[in-house]
């Protein structure tokens, strides 16, 4: 700790008017402190130049998020934790929600504020590109009055902004018009948490298939300020995506950005990765009509997990699959599905097993999806339609199996004759527990692959 607290003044007038009054009396003399995640780091390092500080953490007018039908008004004093907790914000402004979850750590999200980050004006800040593409407005206040400025105009040069010395940001305004837009947030840092970005991207687009209506792209750490890539956008607006357009967009990006070599990374790396991220995003938009996989690639993560759960009843698997998007094609999907399945724990396998009805019955022991039930019925149709003697033998075998292994018998029944299933059951009854767990998992994997194919190409059949 390299600063002397006795050399620093910190006051907390408690109301917005009082704070603004002081700032008007001596413009530039007082440095506002909200959560302190920037000021106190400099203080600890012995690098805090301003010695007169004014706390705005407790100013009620600066906190809270209000919504109207058209707009979301975010108090500049809202912490990143506040942003993440807000349902409408998370649902309608996923780029900002994601950026909030990337900022620092949980503890720093509880203290760091959106207003503080904007005023600090670091080109590396995670949430600023999101504000650029959502075309936020800022409400600035002083004793002289209130003014509303476009956020895209706010940063004028490296760490220089439109904010006057007697002004505070009071509100960040987002317009609620992005339903149906596709968004992508990417951050590249030295590690997965507590990382200052090497670069970060916020992209927002309205498309019909591969036809772009309007696209907005912004990057952090690629210029002295957070940057909207308007030249790159103009290459893409109102065009149909194809490889040539994507290459042209990449070239536009490369000439539009101006990153540097610094302690965190290099110029060349940043330019290359920014281009890669842009290409990856654009390619994910290119679709052959509206096929299932392409649509599923674009679902919000929760919905994607729910959708794919029918293919394999493990919630951990479903979430991992959703997180592994986008998939270029069915092959990639299929390979990853097996990889993830094989990496699950025994408990996670058991959860999946429980989503099946007993072979020969209709309903699974636990609730599952309607699709899963329907598919199970189809898979087991041979058995349910078989003659009584075999059915009874299978039922008896099931009972013995359950007694021995404490779970139901899993077999990939599609295309198998009941007699074959019975033979498999009898053979596996003799397995030891470890071998049998593995064998059940292998069958479940087969079932999963069949269901994935059915899901992606419903008319094509198994």
């Amino acid at each position: 700790m390299r600063s002397n607290p006795s050399s620093y003044e910190l006051i907390a007038p408690g109301t917005l008017d009082a704070v603004l009054g002081l700032m008007a009396k001596e413009p530039g003399a007082w440095t506002p402190v909200a959560g302190g995640t920037e000021v106190m780091v400099q203080f600890g390092a012995g690098k805090l130049m301003p010695t007169r500080l004014i706390s705005i953490r407790d100013i009620a007018e600066l906190r809270g998020i209000t919504e109207t039908a058209e707009e979301l008004h975010i108090g500049a004093g809202c912490s990143y934790a506040d942003l993440r907790r807000h349902t409408t914000l998370s649902a309608e402004f996923p780029l900002l929600n994601t950026a909030a979850s990337w900022t620092g750590s949980i503890a720093n999200q509880n203290r760091g504020t959106l207003g503080g980050n904007i005023v600090n004006a670091s080109p590396a800040a995670d949430s600023l590109p999101a504000l650029l593409v959502y075309e936020a407005d800022l409400v600035l206040v002083s004793t002289r009055g209130v003014r509303r400025v476009r956020y895209v105009d706010f940063h004028t040069a490296y760490k220089k902004t439109l904010l006057a010395p007697d002004e505070l940001i009071r509100t960040i305004i987002l317009t609620r018009r992005y339903a149906g837009w596709i968004s992508s947030a990417r951050k590249v840092g030295p590690r997965n948490a507590q990382a200052i970005a090497k670069l970060c991207m916020a992209a927002l687009v309205q498309t019909t298939g591969s036809q772009v209506h309007e696209i907005r792209i912004a990057f952090g750490s690629m210029a002295p300020v957070p940057l909207r890539l308007s030249n790159t956008e103009s290459v893409l607006n109102n065009v149909t995506l194809n490889e040539e357009v994507i290459r042209a967009a990449r070239r536009a990006l490369e000439s539009e950005v101006s990153p540097i070599d610094d302690i965190r990374s290099t110029r060349a790396y940043r330019v290359a990765v920014a281009g890669n991220l842009l290409e990856e995003f654009l390619r994910s938009l290119m679709t052959n009509g509206d096929d299932t996989l392409a649509r599923w690639n674009r679902f919000p993560e929760e919905d994607a997990a729910k959708e794919i759960l029918s293919c394999c009843g493990s919630t951990v698997w479903a979430r991992a699959m959703a997180a592994a998007r986008p998939f270029k094609d069915a092959t990639g999907l299929s390979i990853r599905a097996s990889e993830i399945w094989r990496g699950l724990s025994a408990d996670e396998w058991l959860e999946a097993f429980r989503s099946h009805p007993r072979i020969g019955q209709r309903h699974a022991e636990r609730e599952t999806t309607t699709t899963s039930t329907k598919w199970s019925a189809g898979e087991q149709s041979n058995v349910t339609g078989s003659d009584d003697k075999v059915k009874r033998a299978i039922a008896e075998g099931n009972r013995q199996y359950e007694e021995r292994f404490d779970r139901i018998f899993i077999v990939c029944a599609t295309g198998k004759e009941p007699a074959e299933i019975l033979k498999n059951l009898e053979h596996r009854l003799a397995n030891d527990k470890i071998t049998e767990l593995q064998e059940s998992a292998t069958h479940q994997e087969e079932i999963m692959q069949l269901r994935l194919r059915k899901w992606l190409a419903p008319e094509g059949g198994a």
Partner: protein, 744 residues
């Protein structure tokens, strides 16, 4: 008791926040100290001015002139001054000490000391040092050299079917214990010097303070406070900070506390030695190693400190777990104008084993064998000899370890799968193997030289205290030594406690380093306990085979009627351990831990970043005394190894560390590490307590080469340097694409 995961002995204070680390302690009248350090790499001090707005008359100021004894940090070579006089040899070299009662005044005071220098050209790389254009140490910039020469290396090349060469480099690594270095010192004419601090080796500090103060041994007292991580970073450095606090305390007449902040600790204290290794390997037509020439060089920084010993271990491990009919290892530690590098878990072996295991993969691919198959043909078997001609007498089965590690990691199935899927994927996956060994205990005659002494004593109730200078800093010293004593004496775990680490109280059982505590000190605790018990038997108070109650009653009787009841254990070398220091041949270590690690990685070709998805750590370590502690050691070591491979980069500028903050020196967070799967095999070691061998450093050797081998498998590109950053992968790709005329 042994083999059971009993609660950590000092665990309750740690989880309640009542454990006392040095900065939690405060003494009456105590003031605070700080260090004024060089801002240049090499030169001479020409002027020192005390500037500005500081009430200098309130400060205690100490320079080299105030050293009562010798101005030296006494360790091995004694070339490092405790405070620079006029000559500066590295950035951050300590010049002056300041003390004041207001802790907050110190940083400003330090900044207000204006020093002028005549700068001299400085040396900042191994290559610069070798060139000797500037000689910055001794006559040739070389602290130490070793040569190992087994068999007949010069003859192997003519019979070789392949000769494969490679050069591999490793960067410095910061230990990054979460508790910074800190110490409190007190000086009185009557009692002499007392020091409390965060440290691994109280008797190293003791020895250094004797040289510094000129006081006799009984007037120097060193106590270890609860230590928040060390990993080697508090092996020799505490002698420096303790010396500084002592000098201030002597002049101030009151206790002085010095605790570094993170920026100072990272910039000024020791780090892992950077290294460069060159391999030249001869292989026969059946893929069998015929011989090798290995050149192993480490950058020691500005003073010798521990470099000769780090070099020794790195040299001996350079041949790894393979059978070399002939091998020559030439090694040297060279000087640069950097803060001296020091001990960090592994101590030279992670460096040379990184090179070896990367090279083995490269050789395998060059001669057309799978990485596992090539290793299979060359792994040591019992009866064969190591690079120092040490015969493997343990029934170790490396073939089995390799088989099991491959199975646990699903190596073959996944390798085959990824070979198919990588072509069309932007996320390339691969697995990599590292096979290695790590010697436990001091090298060669080191343990004999240390001549460790350990004691146990019992009170009238039959409670037993263990007296060692082996310190706890998270690895479990207290717990396992109490377990061993309890098991040996037939007592309960709670009957045993550790004597406070106080050089006035405990005997010198040597430093807490070199993976020696469980194996060597544990054995001595057992010996001492047996001796103590035997006293009861000899006194007729205990039969040969009685339980806890009888023992406790006997202690009561003995202490009342006869006197103090204790036992001691003095180190005895196991039989057939011969080491030739001149030829550097023979039994280098009494025992080895053996391991095969497998890493699975994804290389994201969009961001060029590497993620470790799965990690299998399989090792043979003798008897596992405490399953939770042992697994914890492996998990922690693997985590540090992953950092070493992929994250922990030091940005140097003329010997100064530029990224000396936790925000820009990157260690893995909870969201960065894969599940680390730990498996043990146990082949009891006859001379360890209940069969145990050392394990503390073993896990540091495997992760980096395993991970890089996996990256090579995933991308098909050779990477030979760590840390491997995304920028490095990008650059290599860009270069290779340029060469092949492909747009990146």
């Amino acid at each position: 008791m042994v083999g059971v995961s009993v609660p950590r002995k000092e665990g309750a204070p740690k989880v309640t926040g009542t454990a006392q680390y040095v900065d939690d302690l405060s003494f009456e009248g105590m003031i605070y100290g700080a260090t004024v350090r060089s801002t240049i790499a090499r030169g001479r001090i020409t002027k020192i001015e005390f500037d500005g707005n500081i009430p200098w008359d309130e400060f205690v100021i100490v320079t080299a002139k105030d050293v009562p004894g010798k101005n030296v940090v006494s360790l091995i070579t004694d070339d490092q001054p405790i405070l620079a006089e006029t000559q500066i040899n590295h950035p951050e070299e300590p010049i002056l000490l300041l003390a004041h009662k207001d802790r907050h005044l110190l940083p400003l005071a330090v900044a207000a000391v204006k020093i002028e220098y005549d700068e001299l050209p400085s040396v900042h790389s191994i290559e610069d040092s070798e060139r000797c254009q500037e000689v910055v140490w001794g006559t040739d910039n070389i602290f130490k050299t070793y040569t190992i020469d087994k068999g007949n290396v010069d003859e192997v090349w003519k019979d070789a079917a392949w000769i494969v060469e490679g050069e591999y480099t490793t960067g410095a690594q910061e230990q990054l214990y979460i508790e910074n270095n800190g110490v409190i010192a007190q000086w009185s004419e009557q009692d002499g010097v007392t020091v409390w601090g965060s440290m691994q080796c109280p008797f190293y500090v003791h020895k250094a303070l004797i040289a510094l103060t000129g006081l006799p041994a009984e007037k120097v007292r060193v106590l270890q406070t609860e230590t928040g991580g060390a990993f080697g970073g508090k092996e020799d450095y505490p002698s420096i900070i303790a010396g500084h606090a002592v000098l201030l305390a002597k002049k101030a007449g009151v206790p002085v506390k010095i605790v570094y902040d993170r920026m100072e600790d990272m910039a000024a204290t020791t780090k892992r030695h950077p290294s460069r290794t060159r391999h030249r390997t001869a292989v026969d037509k059946d893929g069998r190693l015929l011989g090798a020439e290995i050149e192993f060089v480490i950058d020691g920084g500005a003073y010798a400190t521990l470099s000769p010993v780090v070099l020794s271990r790195g040299t001996i491990h350079a041949g790894g777990p393979y059978y070399w009919p002939s091998i020559r290892v030439r090694s040297k530690a060279v000087a640069t104008n950097t803060p001296p590098h020091g001990a960090f878990r592994g101590f030279g072996a992670p460096q040379s084993l990184f090179a070896l295991e990367r090279h083995m993969d490269y050789v395998a691919r060059t001669i057309g064998l799978a990485p596992d198959e090539f290793r299979r043909r060359n792994l040591l078997r019992p009866g064969q000899t190591t690079a120092t001609a040490q015969e493997i007498r343990e029934p170790i089965d490396m073939q089995h370890l390799l088989d099991r590690a491959l199975e646990l990691s699903d190596y073959h199935a996944k390798t085959a799968l990824f070979a198919k899927t990588n072509a069309n994927s932007s996320k390339k996956k691969g697995l990599g193997i590292a096979a290695f060994l790590h010697g436990a205990g001091f090298t060669g005659s080191g343990e004999r030289y240390l001549n460790a002494l350990v004691g146990v004593e019992a009170n009238e109730r039959g409670d037993v205290r263990v007296l060692v200078s082996s310190t706890e800093f998270g690895q479990g010293t207290n717990t396992i030594l109490c377990q061993i004593a309890a098991e040996t004496l037939g007592l309960e775990y709670d009957d045993i406690s550790m004597a406070p680490i106080d050089t006035h109280v405990v005997p010198n059982s040597g430093p807490t380093v070199a993976s020696r505590t469980a194996m060597i000190i544990g054995k001595l605790v057992q010996t001492a306990a047996i001796e103590m018990r035997q006293k009861l038997v000899d006194a007729g108070l205990l039969g040969e085979d009685t339980g806890r109650e009888a023992f406790r009653a006997a202690c009561g009787e003995y202490t009342q009627t006869i006197g103090r009841l204790n036992g001691c254990g003095r180190y005895q070398a196991p039989p057939n351990v011969y080491w030739d220091d001149a030829k550097y041949m023979g039994e280098a270590y009494p025992a080895f831990g053996w391991a095969v690690y497998v890493a699975e990685v994804t290389v994201d070709m969009t961001t060029y970043s590497v993620t470790v998805d799965d990690f299998v750590a399989l090792q043979e370590v003798g008897r596992v005394l405490h399953p939770v502690l042992a697994a914890g050691q492996i998990e922690g070591g693997v985590a540090q190894g992953i950092g070493y491979a992929l994250y922990e980069n030091i940005v140097w500028n003329k010997g100064r560390m530029l990224n000396n903050q936790m925000t820009n020196y990157i260690m893995p967070t909870s969201q960065d590490l894969p599940p680390i799967r730990v498996y043990f095999e146990e082949v009891p070691y006859a001379y360890g307590p209940y069969g145990a061998k050392g394990i503390g450093e073993l896990p540091m050797d495997g992760p980096a080469p395993a991970i890089l081998n996996a990256v090579v498998a995933a991308t098909g590109m050779e990477f030979r340097s760590i840390p491997l950053l995304p920028e490095d992968i990008f650059t290599a790709l860009a270069v290779s694409h340029k060469e092949h005329g492909v747009a990146v």
